[in-house]
């Protein structure tokens, strides 16, 4: 025992520092303000939002102020490289690519937003009914949903679009049809969690009707999950739209979307790479920004889910 000597550096403290908490009186702020504050701390997400806004503004206004029309064919101006007059050049039909790009971005964003709105309406209603009423209604609705969910999205999309001739409307319907399931699942899970809370019981005891409980007690408490889900679905919808255009089930000619532009560019990318690279860049940027934005929102609205 004698020759065993403890040196000062034999032991190190573990887990000491992280146990120290500093008491601090924090002034009350509303949940929205808190979320906004947390969101603004995430630099990536803020940059993403700004980029999305810039792209959206260009998509709305650039075609309006352009002297060229997105569908106007002028064979004397074929395949011009980017220059001062045609900022992004022209394609093999002589259409101005600057106008087409922003017009296509506009259509892609529109398709995504429209599909998500429809899918929120269907999904939230389905999830609310299934989760709130429970019992037999719930198990029947769940089985139906399970079966629809186990068909791969792509197969559903392809068959739907072969069934209904591809157009702006049918693409939106097809996308909404495949995307609502995720929405209804989240809604149902949240409703199941919230409906057992004491404040719902209190409201019920005071004689509130189902309608009141759903809209005044449950919905306001699950909105953050819905917003997160919506932001996560938008890049999905943009992706599937581009994807469908790429396999030939997209918007008909001469309409433009990011997918059709990439597809057009692919046909001649060996000779005129800029025709494809520019829409690919905008598409990738949009996907990246929406993903960063979604992640940022999730961390801000639901700090418990934060990835370290």
């Amino acid at each position: 025992m004698e020759d065993n000597k403890f040196l000062p550096n034999d032991f190190e403290f573990v887990g000491d520092k992280r146990d120290i908490t500093i008491d601090e009186v924090i002034p009350t702020t509303s949940a929205w303000k808190d979320a906004l504050k947390r969101f603004c701390k995430n630099k990536g997400a803020v940059v993403a939002v700004i980029l999305i806004l810039i792209i959206a503004l260009f998509a709305i206004f650039a075609p309006m102020f352009s002297e060229w029309d997105y569908a106007e064919i002028n064979t004397s101006l074929k395949n011009i490289a980017p220059n001062g007059e045609h900022l992004f050049g022209t394609d093999s039909y002589g259409r101005d690519l600057w106008t087409r790009l922003w017009f296509g971005t506009r259509i892609s964003l529109f398709v995504a937003v429209a599909a998500i709105i429809i899918d929120v309406v269907i999904g939230v209603t389905y999830g609310l009914i299934s989760g709130y009423f429970g019992g037999k209604v719930d198990s029947v609705m769940q089985r139906i949903q399970e079966i629809i969910n186990s068909i791969p999205t792509l197969v559903v999309l392809i068959i739907l679009l072969m069934f209904m001739k591809p157009s702006l409307g049918t693409i939106i319907i097809a996308l909404a049809f495949t995307e609502w399931i995720g929405m209804s699942r989240i809604t149902r899970a949240q409703v199941l969690k919230v409906k057992e809370e004491e404040y719902v019981l209190a409201s019920r005891t005071l004689g509130a009707k189902d309608f009141f409980i759903i809209f005044k007690e449950i919905l306001p408490n699950i909105y953050s999950q819905m917003i997160i889900m919506v932001m996560m679905s938008i890049p999905n919808a943009i992706f599937y739209e581009a994807y469908l255009s790429f396999i030939g089930l997209g918007l008909p000619i001469p309409e433009a979307s990011l997918g059709t532009l990439i597809n057009d560019g692919y046909k001649s990318f060996l000779v005129y790479p800029y025709i494809m690279l520019i829409p690919v860049a905008i598409f990738s940027l949009l996907m990246l920004c929406f993903n960063l934005f979604g992640d940022g929102l999730r961390d801000a609205l639901d700090p418990t889910m934060k990835e370290r």
Binding site: I151, P152, T153, I247, L288, F290, R308
Partner: protein, 315 residues
């Protein structure tokens, strides 16, 4: 395995079988009612058309057609191609295509998982360093941007600009020409796996038993390899489902881009020429693969962590 596990597996099997059957019925009906017909040659007279329809059994009532189709299917006969590859048996066409797609998918999963795990563990061990930020940024890019964009970029840079990779698949050099599609497909896997591994790894490194192991005086190597890694890597099974689904979607466009004669290319071509039997077989195969994958993952996870199963049954 106890009784409840077996019961759970049985229940999942029955649900999967019912789902597959429903999918088959829906696909069959939808494909039959699709606009456009496989016999779309306008020069044919009504009589000739009738002869061709009789040859493919399209003149019988729908229900009989379905019964015949299912009967044939159970014996491995998926009918013949109607106009894409005149009268070739669909089973062999789809089989050959599926083999290539399947190998590509497998290669992408294996390569992607190994690289992804290494990247994730590396990032977790060097938390908050520049390497961590770099790895995280890479994985965010990989998760957000679909594989076909990577395929296009690789195509432009390596095949068209540097000319060191072929632009199209050639059956004489199967390995050489599969570098590009497999690389494009594995980007998504790498990104997903590394992001998930990093999160799991950090959680494990912060756990109490790691502090205990460290306090016991274990060296760093034992600490990481036999204590942290093992616990961090099991949950990776949970994300294999979404990853494989992404991969199935990805293969379709990557195959088109790199002219690989796989399942996705076959499906798209058969849609363009409304070849009923091929569409049906491909779509069904996709759905079946998807369901079987989900089944295996669910069961595997149910055995590894029974809590997941309970949670799922309730919620």
């Amino acid at each position: 395995m106890n009784k409840s596990t077996l019961k759970y597996i049985g229940k999942r099997l029955i649900i999967s079988a019912i789902t597959l059957f429903v999918i088959l019925v829906v696909l069959f009906l939808m494909v039959r009612f699709l606009p456009g017909s496989p016999i779309n040659n306008e020069k044919l007279s009504a009589a000739q058309r009738a002869v061709i329809e009789a040859k493919y059994g399209l003149d019988k009532p729908l229900f009989t057609q379905f019964v015949i189709y299912v009967k044939d299917m159970l014996t491995g006969n998926f009918g013949v191609s109607m106009n894409l590859y005149k009268d070739m048996p669909v089973a062999s066409l789809v089989g050959n295509a599926a083999k290539i797609s399947f190998l590509y998918g497998l290669a992408a999963v294996i390569i992607g998982t190994i690289i992804g795990m290494a990247l994730g563990v590396f990032a977790a061990l060097h938390r908050n360093s520049i390497w961590d930020t770099l790895a995280t940024a890479l994985s965010v890019i990989g998760v957000s941007i679909p594989s076909f964009v990577f395929a296009l970029l690789i195509l432009i840079f390596f095949a068209s600009y540097l000319r060191i990779l072929p632009t199209a698949y050639s059956s004489s050099q199967p390995i050489y020409s599969s570098i590009m599609p497999v690389a494009a497909l594995s980007t998504g896997v790498i990104a997903n796996v590394s992001r998930f591994t990093r999160t799991e790894m950090i959680e494990v490194l912060d756990s109490d038993y790691m502090i205990l192991a460290k306090a016991k005086g274990l060296d760093r190597k034992t600490l990481i390899f036999s204590h942290a890694l093992r616990n961090a890597l099991i949950p990776v099974i949970t994300i294999l489902g979404p990853i494989l689904v992404n991969l199935m979607t990805g293969t379709m466009v990557v195959e088109l881009l790199c002219s690989v004669p796989g399942l996705g290319k076959l499906l798209v071509n058969s849609i363009l020429s409304s070849d009923y039997n091929i569409i049906l077989a491909c779509a069904f195969l996709y759905a079946a693969m998807y369901i079987i994958m989900m089944l295996i993952i669910d069961i595997a996870y149910g055995i590894i962590d029974p809590r997941i199963r309970l949670g799922k049954d309730e919620g």
